[in-house]
Every structure is written in C-alpha cells, then in structure tokens.
C-alpha cells in the first residue's frame, strides 16, 4: 500500500512542509504525495506510508462530486483526530487534520513545558499593545521575555550607524536602556536578524562568543543564545536576543517556535509605536510651522493678530496670517489672512504651500491680480478640490494716513472701523484659489485716517456657533456691531475685543479655527511711539 513519491509532484507541495497544522496530500490510489512535518509526527507512520484508516477513508471518498464527510479516528498515542478531506479533480485529495490543542510533539508547546501557550501569548500580546510609547513597548517585551522565555532578554533597536541601542532585562528584574559603540556583527546572527532574516537555530550559536556588552550586568556565564528578528511593518523593528544561563543546553525547537511567535507580536507592537511617534513628530513639526507670527508696528502702521485654533485635534490646518514687511520704510508691506478648506495634515500641507508660494511672489505684490493668478496656478491639481480663500492687503503709510489695497479671493471682505464708529465693508470680491481654471479679483483701496482700522477675519469668527441656543452663528451683523464699539481703539485692543466676544458667544462649544488681523493707522501724536526705528532716529 505504500508507494514512493515522485519528486516532481512533491515539490509542488513543498510550501506546506512547515504548516503549523498537520496536512497530507494523498494521490488517486492512496499513495502519500506529501505530508507536512507535523503530519509526519501525527501519523507516526514510516516515511512515505499512509496509516490504514486514512488510506481506507481516502479510497472511500465520493467520486461523484458530493461534499465528503469529516473522518474521525482515535489514535492510541495522539488521541482523537479529525480529518477533513478536500478532494481534487484528479482523484487526489488534501487531508487537513485537527487534533486536540497542546498535543505533545505536534503543536508547539510553551517554554518550560506548560500547556497554556496560547493563553500566555494572548496575555503577552495584550501587555505589548497597551502602550504606543516605543520605550514602554520595548521594556514590556524584554521584561516578559525574560520572565517566560529565558533567564535574560535583550531587544536591540534597528541599527543606526556605529551605535547600538538596546534594552536588557534579567528575569524578574527591571529593564535597562543601554547604548554602546559596537558592531552588531559581534553577536552571531544579530546583524542578520536586524535585517529581518529568519532566526538561526540556537544550537548553531556558540554562547561563549556572546560579547559582554550585550549581557545584562550580574548574569554570569551564558549557556545558550537565541536571536530572533522582530518583524515590523515593512521594515524590521529590531531583534530579540534570549539568553539562558550555563547548564541548560540549547533552546528546544518548540521553544524557538514560541519565541518567534512572541517576537512577531513584540515586533508589531514596537513597529506601531514607532509609526505613531513618527506621525506625532510630523504633526508637531507642521503645527509649529503654522503658528502665526507675532505682529508689531511696521513702518508707521500698527498690525495686530489673534488666532484661536480649533478645539478638534484632528482639525489642524485651517487659518493662517502673515505680514511681510516692505524692504524700505516707504514701500508697501504685504499682509495676508487666509483659510484652507478641509482638515488635517493635508490641509496643513496646503497651508504651508500657500504661505511659501505667496512669500516667493512678494516681488510681484504690486499687482494683486497677478499674484492670485500665479498662486491659483501653483495650487491647481487634478487630485483634489481643496482650495484656499484669502485676503491680500498691501499697506503703506502716506503722511499721517494709511493706504490699504485689499484683494479678496473667495474670502469675506474686510471691515473698516471709522473714528466716528461707522463700520463699512470693503468692496473687494474675488474667487477662491486652487481649484478654478482662472482666479479673479476686484481690488479695493481704503484710506485709514489716524485711529481708524481695517479688520481682516476668517469665517471661523462669523460661523462660530453659540449664543443662547448654542446653535446660532455669531454672524457678520454681530461682528459689525462689536466693531462699532471699537472706534479709536488700538489694533491690539480690537483683536482682543473680537476674541473675547466670540469666546463668550461660543462658551464651551466646538469651533473651527478663528483668525483676526487688524491693520490700523496710529492715532495722532503716537507716531514716535509706534513708528519704529526710523522715527526714533528722527
């Protein structure tokens, strides 16, 4: 009944050899075409032979295509076995075996011979995944590995130049972070593991070759070493080194398997923590770049700005303002305030692009239409319809008045606060940038007498929801009324007043980014104080 297998056929099934669950392939006549290592151990039959019960069940498989039934067999050694056949068109069949969990010699057992390996692994996974802090994850990994898998454990971080960083832990002790100038090649198998290659069996590694810098203080002589890669997301997350004290012999095969399963979980947890910390760092970096500048008095004009970021953490991006001082005191200072549609990192990236592009276009700031046309071109993309709205303000002092050229691009027109308390809207109107084939704008010029101010604001101010019902928008009328009370106030006081009123309106409500910028002509008699270096020198 036994027949030898044809090598050509056997190769097809080679990938199944290391299947963690037993699987065997039987040919049309019941000959064994292939069996995984675990199936060989389960069936306990001489190489190339098939147990009688299995061969009979195989030959009894229905030939008419009806689904076969599960075969149950009680083996004197292995106990209950369930065999699930998958017949193939040529009369052969793949047999999958299900055996009671923890069957000796078939499935990997836990270190130390306990029978709770899956339970232990689940518990360790939970511990490893309980933090997104890279150091905490590595500390948990070495602490638990030293407790359950070896006498001491070391997790080596992925290589960076000639300095090796790792965390060590003695069984029952506390993890220690170590940094040494050393070469990972000094530890057999470590350089390979750090590149993600499969582990080298422990019995191949000479424990006496372990360099002392790797061994935790107070460990004594190393008896056996196991080096396992920590698989990460795409790139290796490091390597796990398990050390056992002298006298224990090398790690048995099933404990190596368990160590690999533990390493897979530790690697995934460490990798997730690394990705998270990288993302957090990128977000921080972008946020730092987005912080608006502190505004001041430039060339005889007062500038003040206020920015209140959205309370939603995932809503970064949004509003921005900048002031680019003129090269000489008689030139035009370009101020701008804008808003990018959408939220999150992509909006933040677009905000950066808008600000940088406008910075580069400063030499053309005489012609607002051209600046907006070029900015529109620079932002246009077929990938998305995210856009920016903004107001450009070219500001120049003329005697005791301030001339402001305003160009809106899809943005609320600025309001002008006169000394007598009148609030007027500037008449500028234009299209958003970044999404339409052409950008258009109508420029409006406003002259500010001493004590008068021009207020640029984002729609986060007018759309702030709150009030008695909590659902009503602050609106342009309330903003206009608020500004009527601000006649003659310095620029900074107007910003604070608007911020205070919107904050009171919102109370605890959620809100978008809110930005406001005030450009003001200093009141008469204050020129020397607010003017800047030129006036001081005069």
């Amino acid at each position: 009944m036994a027949s030898s297998t044809s090598p050509a056929v056997t190769t097809d099934w080679e990938p199944l050899a290391d299947s963690p669950y037993p699987v065997a392939v039987l040919g049309p006549d019941g000959e064994l075409l292939h069996a995984s290592h675990s199936a060989h151990r389960l069936l306990a039959a001489p190489a190339g032979t098939v147990p009688h019960w299995l061969r009979r069940a195989h030959l009894d498989l229905p030939a008419d295509g009806t689904p076969p039934e599960t075969v149950r067999h009680t083996d004197p050694v292995a106990g209950r076995i369930e065999a699930h056949p998958s017949p193939r068109p040529d009369g052969s069949a793949v047999w999958w075996f299900v055996v009671p969990e923890g069957l000796p010699g078939v499935l990997p057992r836990t270190a130390g011979g306990g029978s709770h390996d899956w339970e232990l692994l689940t518990r360790l996974s939970g511990l490893l995944l309980s933090s997104l802090n890279v150091d905490r994850v590595l500390e948990t990994a070495v602490r638990q590995a030293a407790l359950h898998l070896a006498d001491a454990a070391v997790v080596v971080a992925p290589g960076s130049g000639r300095t090796l960083r790792f965390v060590t832990c003695l069984r029952g002790g506390d993890p220690a972070h170590v940094q040494v100038r050393a070469d990972s090649a000094e530890v057999p198998g470590l350089a390979e593991a750090l590149q993600g290659f499969p582990p080298v069996p422990s019995r191949w590694i000479d424990p006496d070759a372990t360099p002392r810098w790797l061994v935790p203080a107070g460990f004594g002589r190393v008896g056996s070493v196991l080096v396992t890669p920590l698989p990460g997301h795409g790139v290796p997350a490091g390597a796990l080194v398990l050390l056992r004290a002298a006298g224990g012999g090398p790690f048995p095969a099933d404990e190596e398997v368990f160590a690999r399963m533990f390493a897979a979980r530790a690697g995934a947890a460490a990798s997730a923590a690394v990705l998270y910390s990288e993302q957090a760092a990128v977000t921080d970096l972008l946020m730092r770049e987005l912080l608006p500048p502190r505004l001041e008095h430039l060339n005889g004009v007062d500038f003040a700005g206020g920015y209140r970021a959205s309370v939603d953490r995932d809503r970064i991006g949004g509003d921005f303002y900048d002031v680019h001082p003129a090269a000489d005191p008689d030139g035009e200072t370009l101020a701008l305030l804008g808003d990018v549609s959408g939220k999150g990192l992509e909006a933040a990236v677009m905000t950066g692009k808008v600000r940088n592009t406008l910075h580069a276009l400063l030499p053309l700031a005489d012609d607002h239409g051209r600046v907006l046309h070029l900015l529109n071109r620079a932002l246009l993309t077929s990938h998305h319809t995210r856009f920016a709205s903004l107001v450009l303000a070219s500001v120049r002092r003329e005697d005791d008045r301030v001339r402001v050229r305003l160009s809106a691009a899809g943005h609320p027109a600025p309001m002008v606060v006169r000394t007598d308390g009148r609030v007027t809207d500037s008449t500028t109107l234009g299209s958003i940038v970044g999404v339409l084939p052409e950008a258009t704008t109508r420029t409006d010029t406003v002259l500010l007498d001493p004590g008068e101010a021009c207020v640029l604001y984002s729609d986060g101010i007018t759309e702030a929801k709150g009030g008695p019902t909590g659902r009503e928008q602050f609106g342009e009328d309330r903003l206009r009324q608020a500004l009527q009370q601000c006649a003659g106030l310095p620029a900074e006081a107007i910003v604070e007043r608007v911020q205070m009123l919107t904050a009171q309106w919102l109370r605890e409500g959620r809100h978008d980014d809110m930005a406001v910028m005030v450009i003001a002509a200093p009141p008469r008699g204050h020129v020397a104080v607010t003017g800047g270096p030129r006036e001081y020198a005069a």
Binding site: G342, H384, T385, F387, G410, I432, V435, T440
Partner: protein, 112 residues
Amino acid sequence: MSTSPVPPPRPTAGPPRTATVPVEGELDHESCGELLRAVAAHLAARPRVDVVRVDCGDMSLCDSTGLSALLQVRRDVDAAGRRLLLDRRPAHLERLLRLTGTADYLLTDRPD
C-alpha cells in the same frame, strides 16, 4: 443618433434622462463623501442619464468642505460628459457661491 426598435428605459424619478441627488441637512466634512458616492453611483450605473441634478432645497448649511465636494462633483460630471445642475439653491448657498467666486464655474454649462 441611431434609432432602436425598443424605447430606452425611463428613469424612475424626475424627467427622462435625468438623475436627481437630493442633499438634506448640512453639507460638510461628514456628509460630503456621501454626495460624491451618490453622484459616482449615478454616473456609473445609469449611462443613459445625461443630466445630474443636485437638489439643494433641503440643504441647511454648506461649509468649505461642502463647497469642495460640489466642485469635485462638477469635475466628475464634466469628465463623464454630462451636465450638472444645482437646483433649488437656498440663499446661504447663493451667498457662498458669490463670495467664493464659484457661481460661474458651478452654474454655467460646460463648454462643448
């Protein structure tokens, strides 16, 4: 255009060869994906439809992400060679289209 012996199937709602996508409530960050999916489904599933109507009658708010979605709808409908109509526009939407300078782009027929 060729004549076929069997008359083309009539869409279930609205005048012939028109698909209507209603927008109810706030068109914002959370709901704009739904609008884009609905339009894409009409464009894909009903090749005989040549006018996509977005019914804005029950739209209570349109924020900047909502506007961004309408602009994307315009691009998608243009790319598919159909016409887009924004119907029953509430005052707040009219105001937004005027403020952002997008009215001409969104409301005029695409040049053929």
